[in-house]
Amino acid sequence: MSLSPDEVRKVARLARLDLSESELAGMAEQLNRILGFVDQLQAIDTTGIEPLAHPMPLDNVFRDDEPNDSLPVDAALHNAPARAGAYFAVPAVFESEG
């Protein structure tokens, strides 16, 4: 399989990466080389093989729901790129309808 420039642009949008035209071109070339390499997996017969998503057999881990200390507001906001009072300041999520 190989990625067209339009597909690379689509993946960049999904990944929220605003790549320049030259970055996109370089990325297409490199991704296609890597995909060419990983395509060797297609030749392996995996009929009836269960996928292994995690190396250790783990069941759900539960704990008692006990109240605990949480971060003070100032500590939580300390690294914020922008804050407004006790809140994170972010660009508008929805465009205003004017």
Binding site: V11, T46, H54, H78
Partner: protein, 507 residues
Amino acid sequence: MTVYDLTAMQLRQAHAAGELSAVAITEAFLERIRQQEPIIQAFLHVDETEAIRQAEAVDAKRRSGQPVGLLAGIPVGIKDLLCVRGTPTTCASRMLASYHPPYDATVIQRLRAADAILIGKTNLDEFAMGSSTETSAFRPTRNPWNPECNPGGSSGGSAAAVAAREAPLAIGTDTGGSIRQPASFCGIVGLKPTYGRVSRYGMVAFASSLDQIGPMARTVADTALLLEVIAGHDPRDSTSVPRPVPRYTERLTMPPQPLRIGLPREFFELPGLDREVEAATRAALQEFVARGATLVDVSLPHAADYAVAVYYLVATAEASSNLARYDGMHYGHRTAIAGDLATTMSRSRAEAFGPEVKRRIMLGTYALSSGYYDAYYLKALKVRRLIAQEFAEAFSRCDLIAGPTSPTPAFPIGSKVNDPLAMYLSDIYTISANLVGIPGLSLPCGFSRCGLPIGLQLLAPHFAEETLLQAGHLYEQVTDWHRRCPPDPKRMTGTSPNLDSPPSALE
């Protein structure tokens, strides 16, 4: 012998006997750091005042007659992927250039509880994505054995710091070989523990089903000491395993029954395997045979042929998901250019991530995207199962699996940065342990003609760290590779160290 030449075990004795104070030890290593760093560049951040303050507290504790911890007064370098409260934690990325975590990772809490001195944060590939520490957004680290070469990666700063005697111990992380490969390139010992042996809480996530924190040191005994301190269950990491931690340091002597060492024939038939690496590995195995071990022929065909391909789908898929948190909203870089929410996120990420991180996010996003999920991600997980089955089969017939840690010794800085696939292949022997979750140890087993270290890798079944450490300790008793010290970089000729100014965030 100078203080910085002492092992952690020797420093512990000297401190317990009152011969060296924690302050004296810390000052000796800080002096060594000042001397070595202009060339080696292993550290991203060293706070001398804070290190001395910690040492003074340990000395005061001892003077007052209170019991002190296992690592009392011993400096430990910390890979800058672990959160240390109030200290820059950059992951060697512009994204987190000014990030100061509000909390300590569990491993850091354990080190503090053991009275260790946190001597500084070490360099790495950006977000641990790389095998040479060259994808660091701030500067490359140099290999103490040859400053023209890289130290391996991604825990290259930790490996170089230990090899250059800037710290007796260091913490690394290993997602596909990032402790073992740099340990091998720098001639030190590095252990990737079993998945779940050490808490990942406070370690910045790269690929959560593969990541594991582990110890790096100059000797196996020191490695055991550091593992003993950091291992154990943590309620804040639900994948950490509630299982008692053995006293590794007290059980370094091999039990008398003969060791069965499996040799995967495919590992020795790899076209890219350097002849000197192969010869050193085979010679190391003969040392084990001379002490009663038997060599068992085993076969790991899927691991040898497909582990790298599986890894670059699984690790990138998990990374694309983990790194989605860097959106410029709560912490990390936010673009200065105004825009709507999606544009702000996309610009912030494009501005602050380096090329390798972007490449892996793109590959992972593609592998998880609608229409390709089955062909790439799911297929990779099925082959991952085949690799796990292959290892289980092999371990039914042997106690350990041995081979080279990396197909070649350290390579020159700049030689593979533009060829991602070639870079990925330097992890071919280490990647399977992460896919399967088993522990792996790299230890020095020789040098190339050019004077670069070569590493032997031992792999063991889940939670058999004890066997790895015992075998490594046995090998150290009969060889002296681990005692060799890199030449003083100041006396080297023909090198013109490029002294980049430190990143602005670290001033």
